[in-house]
């Protein structure tokens, strides 16, 4: 289907069915600047979202994440540049039939039942997902007849997730989707997000939980002060921070450890030391020789969190 659709664009050429189709962006911000009064929320920002990918939008508060999402949802118009979803303006109802959103909402009407909310949102879309399917994906079985006001925080989040899928959208926005969820619900939602991506849907995720971005995203975009600071796979972003972290309990003098080759930093963390080094194996061997009583040894690569902090703090300067 895809191959024919693509090749139909090249009249006169033989139908070459290539297995690597041109990547057509599903949604785009093209050199978008957005000002609120004198405040510039986004500065000449361009980004594209492709089918089947989960993109995590990260950044400190005020970096422009929400503005980027609101532009793609058609809730606000760019001051300059262009926002488009499937080549359409997201401010048109027609374009929005392909979009679903889970926004940060304090309350939705509490005197409607879960079933009512689902039916209402399904009616907004011309080809909605079957209600039973929404209930299954959002794990709301047995709660259909419960009033929204009687649900727990995590259950409410699941209803909002279900509403985002009501229209069977190609593009799903998830703004802090797992706030207030217990670990089990969180993992279950992650599984569903991955399932959406394998169906070819595009997911744009904003989150404060970096482990969530790490677990879900095929691509991470780090924003700071309305600009893109970094973009890549979670691994690529992590590797922006050099070195690995060695944590151990030792009597060795931190000042001495700083002089060892390849050691970048030494910090005290409660009873232990955290040593960041580019050649972790060599440093560990040295440590074991010098302090036979060394214990509690852990070695970890720098996390997404470290990379995020490094990126956003340098971006602030």
């Amino acid at each position: 289907m895809a191959a024919t659709a693509i090749s139909s664009g090249f009249h006169g050429e033989p139908l070459t069915r290539t297995e690597t189709p041109v990547r057509v962006a599903l949604a785009r911000l093209e050199s978008v600047t957005k000002r609120y009064g004198k405040v510039t929320a986004l500065q000449d920002l361009s980004l594209s979202l492709y089918p089947g990918e989960v993109v995590a939008l990260l950044g400190p508060n005020g970096a422009g994440k929400t503005t980027a999402v609101r532009l793609l949802l058609g809730l606000v118009a760019p001051s300059s540049g262009r926002a488009s979803v499937m080549e359409g303006d997201p401010r048109n109802s027609e374009t929005r039939t392909a979009i679903g959103a889970m926004l940060q909402i304090t309350r939705i009407p509490e005197t409607l039942r879960v079933r009512d909310h689902i039916n209402l949102f399904r009616s907004y879309y011309p080809n909605p997902m079957p209600a039973a399917e929404i209930v299954r994906i959002a794990r709301l079985q047995g709660l259909e007849n419960t009033f929204y006001g009687k649900l727990s925080g995590g259950q409410k989040q699941r209803v909002l997730f279900g509403l985002a899928l009501a229209g069977n959208p190609s593009l799903v926005f998830l703004d802090e989707p797992t706030v207030g969820m217990d670990i089990e619900s969180r993992r279950a939602l992650w599984d569903q997000v991955r399932a959406l991506a394998t169906q070819g849907k595009t997911v744009l995720l904003t989150t404060h939980y970096l482990d969530e971005a790490d677990a879900l995203a095929s691509r991470v975009i780090v924003l700071g002060k309305g600009k893109i600071l970094a973009e890549g796979t979670p691994a690529e972003i992590r590797h922006r921070v050099a070195g690995r972290r060695i944590r151990c309990v030792t009597d060795l003098d931190p000042a001495f450890l700083r002089t060892l080759p390849s050691v970048l930093s030494v910090e005290q963390d409660r009873e232990a030391l955290i040593i960041t080094a580019t050649e972790a194996e060599r440093v560990v061997r040295e440590l074991m020789n010098l302090d036979p009583a060394l214990r509690g040894l852990e070695i970890a690569t720098a996390g997404l969190e470290d990379a995020f902090l490094a990126l956003t703090s340098s971006g602030a300067n």
Partner: protein
């Protein structure tokens, strides 16, 4: 994988889509209002309670009929002001409106559904007052007067729906319900919804013509011939239409300005 890429396409929306959205939105809007007890109890409950106290204690008198008309206006006024004003303000504050705005549902449907929902609550209120008046209050009226009471009070309540809408756009979202409470009771009192305007202090009688609620109460009372005779009904209707245009215009202006700044 690539299959899903190209065959997704924005849908064009037909008349059937709009009809279905309107029906569902209205249905759930009404259910939501009715089940929100704080809202439905006070909007339906206030006029009904007043009528039980002041109307039925004067049963079989002109006063029972007078109050049936003026409390009907009071009920409609409250439903329009709170249903649209406080309702929209609250849903705006809670982020619910934004989620709806991000959906393909046309914005006008939201307003249409809210208006119809309020109208239904208001009709229930007037229906309850009618039932009380006719069965226990000894009120006699023709079928035509029953219809007039329902339709005239409904049509005359439009400016208050516009007022509610304007307030919900203008004031900070969380302050909306509070501000509506502040203007609701004084406006009802000063325009003779609770007691005949001519027994109110003179300075209030002088302010009253500047309140849309005064003109509204007059057209309501006129059904039974209780309106003040010094002004013709045409003037009262003109005043109501004028207020509606003014308030709707202001609401439109504020809305488009906030859209432009958004």
């Amino acid at each position: 994988m690539a299959t899903a890429v190209i065959n997704v396409r924005a849908q064009s929306l037909g008349l059937r889509y709009y009809a279905r959205v309107a029906a569902q939105e209205t249905r759930y809007e009404f259910l939501k209002m009715l089940r929100a007890k704080a809202f439905s109890f006070s909007i339906i409950g206030f006029p009904v309670m007043f009528y039980l106290i002041f109307g039925l204690t004067n049963k079989n008198t002109e006063y029972a009929r007078y109050l049936l008309a003026s409390y009907s206006c009071f009920g409609m006024f409250g439903a329009a002001l709170f249903g649209l004003g406080a309702g929209v303000a609250m849903e705006r504050a809670q982020g619910w409106l934004e989620l709806k705005q991000a959906s393909p549902m046309p914005r006008i449907m939201y307003l249409i559904a809210k208006t119809i929902g309020c109208a239904a609550i208001a009709i229930i209120t007037v229906g309850a007052l009618l039932a009380l008046g006719l069965t226990m209050g000894g009120v006699t009226m023709t079928v035509l007067q029953v219809l007039e009471l329902l339709l005239i009070t409904l049509a005359g309540a439009i400016p208050f729906a516009a007022l509610g809408l304007l307030i919900s756009f203008v004031v900070p979202p969380n302050a909306g319900p509070g501000i509506i409470n502040i203007i609701y009771l004084p406006m009802a009192f000063a325009s003779g919804m609770w007691m005949p305007i001519n027994i109110l202090p003179h300075w209030i009688q002088r302010i009253a013509p500047f309140l849309p609620t005064y003109h509204y109460t007059q057209v309501g009372l006129n059904i039974f011939g209780y309106a003040q005779t010094r002004t013709s009904m045409v003037v009262h209707w003109e005043a109501l239409i004028g207020f509606t245009c003014l308030l709707l215009g202001a609401a439109w202006l504020v809305f488009t300005r906030s859209e432009a700044n958004a």
